[in-house]
Symmetry: C2
Subunit: 900 residues, 2 copies
């Protein structure tokens, strides 16, 4: 990012004073410039007037604009100017042995990249100052030497890169080695047991390391702070940071900010401490009455908490304290939490430090706030409660719930109780959600063999096309390499098989007992049982139970209700009779695709064979009649369940060979996908289409007689020319006349096409005209009441890209893995397919601005695709019942963000 014209080189945050430049920016712009941490502190200091360590921010746009990795002279001057402001604000003096100002230099990018970039603490110390401090505060001698040795270590590591060295098999750390030597010499095993003298010795050894590596520790505090700032800026471009950004889709040009902040010490005295506080429970989303969600650790720094060296205590420990100030701090935390939530309009995840001041009073300092991460379950609860508390609007509440994660509430999951009592072996990338417990197998052949008798998890370095049969035989897949777009991840997602990939904690080997995998120090072999959690990336020893969640929480239901109110796209379900009720329960507004194939396969196969291949006319009529009665009953049930909503019923659409009699010598088609099926088959066998139309219209007629309001919509599959539309429009209208004669009812029905060929998509004008042209020779009441189009984007993708989905496994995963395709074209609408869809929509709406356009099939429930559909002005979308909730939610997001 270039430095914006007119933007300051730095930002000093003065308590309670709005910054003239920043006050004009949006939250997003602020985060872009200041980074996430900088934004939070700016909010707290300048806008909320909270007590935070004083700070200034070197904004993100410097990260990619350094002069060969160094601060420009102007920026150095800026740092000095800000140091002076810090001195004024704190009353301390940088580089002064009497009352030294110490600072930290912390990274902070727009999007959180935990552990990716560097931090340097205790800047401002040197030999002279430490000696002076120890002399002035002898009781704190150990504290100051410890602070100093940390500074030495961090500058050596981060600024000069002299900490680590390559020792053949492993990487060693010179500073850690020196620490070990001192501990060894002192006869202690724990850092905490070292005395001030030991630590002083250690500081000397650390400075020798500098010398041995041809460097010198910079004693000048200003030099220290500039070097630290440069190092933090540079850390934006370390290989691991670049890799992480690529994984997470974070643009490289954003840059990190550097925050220079006054040090406060939670580890100074027993009344000092450090802690974290969530304004609501991140698992349940609720506020627990009489309890705050957070922990505190006395006499410790944040790093100690992270390292888990000691156990934190619940915040309620403050209330139990004899120190009245600490008891007051508990209430301060609580009240500040409410303030922060109202200010940030979201649940907050905060960090704080308590430092005992010179008067012996513990003072609460807020270090950082951010929107709190939360469980899928908690998302809805928090969003609904914030809305009900009047903090956010209903629309904002809906936006707060991630449609993709919303589904997680309905996945099978491993109960947290089971996880707590199980042994966590390690973690990889969550690649395909769901838990899978099974016996380890290492190869395709093992998986095929062992899966005959038990559930297996295929564990391997990576997968390729040859492994597919084994992958399909497994209940879960674990790979030690790869990312979310690797072969294993792509295939597993497509099949719905749980998978964890890129688990670098796993290594494979072979010994006298055969092949094994090693993880967390344990060797596991073929047949040993593990459990992977494809939603979290966790790997556990043994078989963990999984449970299917019962139903949505009341808050999740509330979110869906709000989303339904807010969205613009109609959400329908792909459902036959069996799925109609659950679809309606989940909120589907009709059926977008009722497939009729099953009425011909299974028990009715013999009948359709008679119709297609038989010679006896009477037998054909009888067979058709049996199918008709059977079909009518199914249609009637679905239309009754979806009373008042559209039910799109597709005429017969299956490849010819599925109907071949078993003993048939008929030749299988070369490319059945492009063969004799759908309207083509119905054109040459119009009695089939007539029978289906009769069953649909009669079902509706009977419901109309009951006083219901059925909306049958007859759909023609695989249409390529408007002449087909005209033919079937007439055929159906004639059937409507017949049904009227038989029932006395004129059925209101729609007639539409499935747009699944480029030919249909490219003839929007002609197709809509054909759908809307009245049929001659039949009364107006027999005409279809409306035309419509529904995209079958699976077939449309197949024909547009000339990729048979059934055969694509040989190359498509490689195309996705190599980035030839940005997204899997059978999961998310490919841009070139979108292009052709847009042509149809534009042409169709030109003819009739109210023409209804839908999509059905897998893309219809894809969140990315729903965004495209909303943008293109689709009337609605349709997907399997499992995708209804997330689609409703996504549709609401689209409408809120981009109203139409």
């Amino acid at each position: 990012m270039a430095i914006p014209a007119g933007a300051p080189l730095s930002f000093f945050f003065a308590r309670g004073e709005e910054h003239p430049y920043l006050s004009k920016l949006s939250k997003d712009e602020l985060k872009t410039i200041l980074g996430g941490k900088g934004y939070g502190v700016y909010r707290m200091i300048c806008q909320l007037g909270l007590k935070c360590p004083a700070m200034f921010n070197l904004p993100t746009y410097h990260a990619n604009n350094l002069a060969e990795g160094k601060l420009t002279p102007e920026l150095r001057d800026e740092v000095c100017r800000n140091i002076a402001l810090l001195e004024k604000a704190t009353g301390k003096k940088f580089g002064s042995p009497e009352n030294p100002l110490l600072v930290s230099a912390r990274s902070g990018a727009k999007f959180s990249m935990p552990g990716m970039m560097d931090t340097i603490l205790n800047i401002g110390l040197n030999d002279e100052i430490v000696e002076a401090l120890v002399k002035a505060q002898p009781a704190n001698a150990r504290f100051w030497y410890d602070a100093y040795r940390r500074l030495l270590e961090m500058i050596g590591d981060v600024v000069y890169g002299i900490a680590e060295y390559d020792a053949g098999e492993e990487t060693k750390d010179r500073f850690e080695e020196a620490m070990e030597q001192v501990k060894h010499a002192a006869g202690v095993t724990n850092d905490a047991e070292l005395t001030a003298d030991h630590l002083k010795t250690l500081c000397g050894k650390f400075k020798e390391i500098y010398k041995s590596q041809g460097q010198e520790f910079p004693s000048d505090p200003v030099e220290q702070v500039c070097l630290a700032a440069e190092a933090v800026f540079r850390s934006w471009n370390t290989p691991r940071a670049i890799f992480t950004r690529k994984e997470d889709g974070i643009p490289d040009d954003l840059g990190t900010a550097v925050n220079i902040q006054e040090m406060v010490f939670g580890n100074k005295t027993p009344l000092s401490g450090t802690g974290v506080f969530f304004t609501r429970d991140k698992s349940t989303g609720h506020k627990t009455p009489g309890k705050l969600d957070g922990t505190v650790l006395f006499q410790a720094q944040g790093e100690d908490v992270v390292a888990g060296r000691r156990n934190s205590e619940p915040l309620e420990v403050l209330l139990e304290s004899e120190n009245e100030h600490l008891r007051a701090i508990y209430n301060e935390i609580k009240e500040t939490g409410d303030l922060l939530e109202r200010a940030e309009r979201n649940m907050q995840d905060t960090e704080f430090t308590i430092e005992e001041n010179a008067e012996g009073v513990p003072i609460l300092y807020w270090l950082q706030i951010r929107d709190g991460k939360r469980s899928a379950l908690a998302e809805s609860v928090i969003a609904v409660n914030l809305a009900k508390e009047g903090i956010i609007t209903e629309a904002e509440a809906v936006l707060m719930v991630n449609p993709k994660r919303f589904e997680e509430q309905l996945y099978p999951r491993i109960p947290s109780s089971a996880k707590q009592s199980a042994r966590l072996l390690g973690k990889g990338t969550a690649a395909s959600p769901g838990p899978a417990a099974g016996a380890i197998t290492f190869t395709k052949d093992q998986a095929l063999e062992d899966s005959k008798t038990k559930d297996v998890v295929l564990c391997t370095v990576m997968t390729n096309q040859n492994d597919v049969p084994g992958m399909k035989a497994a209940v879960g897949i674990l790979t030690s390499t790869g990312t979310k777009v690797s072969h294993a991840a792509i295939m597993a997602t497509a099949w719905g098989v749980p998978a964890v990939v890129g688990a670098s904690c796993v290594s494979f080997g072979e010994d006298s007992e055969g092949r094994f995998l090693e993880i967390d120090g344990t060797k596991l072999r073929r047949g040993d049982v593990i459990t992977i959690d494809g939603a979290s990336g966790e790997i556990f020893l043994g078989a963990l139970p999984s449970e299917k969640p019962s139903d949505l929480s009341p808050e999740a239901e509330q979110i869906i209700e709000w989303a339904k109110k807010l969205k613009s796209l109609q959400i329908r379900a792909n459902a036959e009779r069996a799925e109609a009720q659950i679809s309606a329960d989940r909120g589907a507004e009709g059926i977008g695709l009722f497939r009729t194939e099953h009425m011909f396969l299974g028990e009715r196969l013999g009948d359709i064979q008679t119709v297609l291949f038989g010679a006896d006319e009477a037998a054909k009529v009888a067979a058709l009649d049996r199918i008709a009665q059977f079909s009518k009953s199914d249609f009637k049930d679905a239309l009754r369940i979806m009373n008042g909503y559209g039910v799109t019923i597709r005429l017969l659409d299956a490849p010819l060979h599925e109907f071949f009699p078993e003993d048939s010598h008929l030749e299988r088609e070369e490319n059945p996908m492009l063969g004799f099926r759908s309207v083509r088959m119905c054109y040459l066998n119009p009695e089939i289409a007539r029978m289906q139309a009769w069953a649909i219209l009669t079902a509706a007629a009977e419901l109309q007689k009951e006083g219901l309001d059925p909306h049958p919509e007859i759909e023609l599959p695989l249409v390529i020319i408007p002449e087909e539309v005209a033919y079937f429009k007439k055929l159906v209208a004639e059937v409507a006349v017949k049904v009227h004669e038989e029932t006395g009812v004129w059925v209101h029905y729609g007639l539409g096409i499935m747009v699944e060929t480029p030919a249909a998509a490219l003839q929007g004008t002609e197709m809509v005209r054909a759908l809307e042209a009245p049929v001659c020779g039949v009364p107006a009441e027999a005409q279809s009441a409306k035309g419509f189009a529904s995209f079958g984007t699976n077939d449309l993708t197949q024909t547009t890209l000339a990729i048979s989905r059934d055969d694509a496994d040989r190359f498509l995963p490689r195309y996705v893995e190599d980035g030839m395709f940005a997204l899997h074209p059978f999961l998310s609408l490919h841009p070139v397919v979108e292009r052709i869809v847009r042509q149809f929509v534009a042409a169709a709406r030109q003819v009739d601005p109210k023409f209804e356009i839908f999509i059905c099939g897998e893309h219809g429930g894809d969140l990315y695709t729903i965004g495209r559909l909303h943008d293109m002005g689709f009337t609605g979308t349709s997907m399997s019942p499992g995708g209804i909730y997330r689609s409703i939610l996504q549709a609401a997001h689209e409408q809120i963000k981009n109203p139409r």
Copy 2:
């Protein structure tokens, strides 16, 4: 057609006087308004001042604008006004017993529809006039009664429709029955033997027929002419005329004109006669020295010639006459022929009548001229000679040669000598050209059985999909029903099997000896041999020989030379090494599609199997090297033959299963057309593409070293995304560097894509950008010198329409037969495919106006498609060597008619 604003209601043709309205119209406009006959007479009378019977024309636009089948009052007045003009021009008087004007009313549409519409002669006669004429000219008594009975018959038939009646099994004619009664009573068998009295009796009987049918013969000549005009106009809309127009693609709204012309009588006296004259020999195209191509028949009317009752004599009979006037008429015919050719700028087919005038002098009257029909062979001869004689330009000569018929010169054909000595059994519709001699079979099973031992012709009422195996087994197909778009015709054309359809002269039956077909009174049975001529529709008894024509005539070659000069589209050949030379000889400007598949199949199959499925790396390298050497040699030959011209070589493009080892258990793909092939296979096996690029570039390098100028163009098949282009562009550039290292030569090569998927077609912008973007990291000399695109419209049609050509036979013929498709989409570019092609062309040329765009494959040689390509601005087209001539010619037609 509506009556054009400002257009006269009729046109009187005054000799030597240009008509003020007509003089402003083009030839095409004149024919539209006046019809073909009216146009010819207008030219002769008004413009050339030739001696024709006086005439006026009621133009075509009245035909569809009558008032309930009757002339409007204005038009009746117009007829009367014109009659007066005729009277003035002829000095005769309509309705006068003394010097009566007699006229004919003849139809004449823009396009000739022989025998389709009606004609009425001798209008102006009635009892009173005939009696007066007989009295004045007793010697002509028989002539006048005969003329009168003809008028009675024609008005009865055409105006009142009282001639025919349904007599159960057959249709009978009341007038013919009366004639038979009179002949029977007179004891004669031949019309000519009837005396004046007999004919007078006949006239009486004819008038009784009127009465018996509740009609009255109209004695008023004006009434006669109006009724006749109405009847002729109405004949435009008889069912058979409508059917013929549908067959021939003549628009229904054109209408016929009515020509009212003074009668002249070739049958009046022995010095009178009628004849036809062609200005050049219609078979050879030449003028025969000392001989005119035409015949004359004395004392006869045109009808007699058509009926073939007597044999005509060569025109030279005039020269041999003792009558000096007749000898002069011979020269008059000859000179007028030259005049007409220069005026009409084409070889003319004329009709004339000689009528002896009152002074005993035979006078030549020109009745009709039209551009003469001619044989395929004669077309070029006439065109070239007319051009060389300065009558037409070279461009007009080229336009005079029909590209479709041009090919006929190269088809096998039955020598006319053989036809003359054979028995012609009958004629049907010529449906698929070429001769076929074989034994009759009646069913699919018979055809399959008998074809094992001999050639068979499948003879049946009509064919359907079930007959396909039998149709394929036959050398020819004959059906008694159907048209050029029936199943039999469509399939036969597609396969190149000769076929005659709709031969209503053939009937099928069964008797004690089994099934037979009856034609021309002969019963033929299974095994009897016939010959069909699919180019003419003729059916002969026995096996006729066929001969393959040697080479083009010098005139045909001249036409091709001129066409090459005049066309704009580049014409290339689809050719491998074997076809390169013949393609070059026929005038191909390079190779548009060099398929490389055969290098991998056949004898090299084992090698490619090693590469694709083998495990031994060394064996793979060796196998690839063998293919490389083999390929290079082939490429080199083709590049040498096409020196200076582009040779487009397509990288490997075959369905995967064609490479499966015989003992392989690999699963065949579900839809191989959309499977793992083409660039997809090369992307996963880049060594194959590298090897092919190496062979192509090395072949060219070696030729460049010889001082030749090879233009290799590497083509990527089945491209769907620009990322594929980028990948292979880099790969090929790297190979170019390698070839340079090995040979010291930088090869100039092109790199292009085959556009055969909607995805590629819809991304013209992206594709051209990818093709033209330089590859980083290789020198400029290694880059491709140009990008290009070539449409593979076969696959593009398959994907756009979702029709697998291999599987289409189950329904596509029905779609074509029913008119769902106007043209067969795999023979002529379908409009929706054209739409997508246009999108690519527009986008590509927007990026680079000079970007080269080609087509290859079957559509490339289709004449209709060539017109579309020319119109779309294609650079060139490519087709099998057999289509080169016609394509050159068609391309010239397009450029002449629609220069770009």
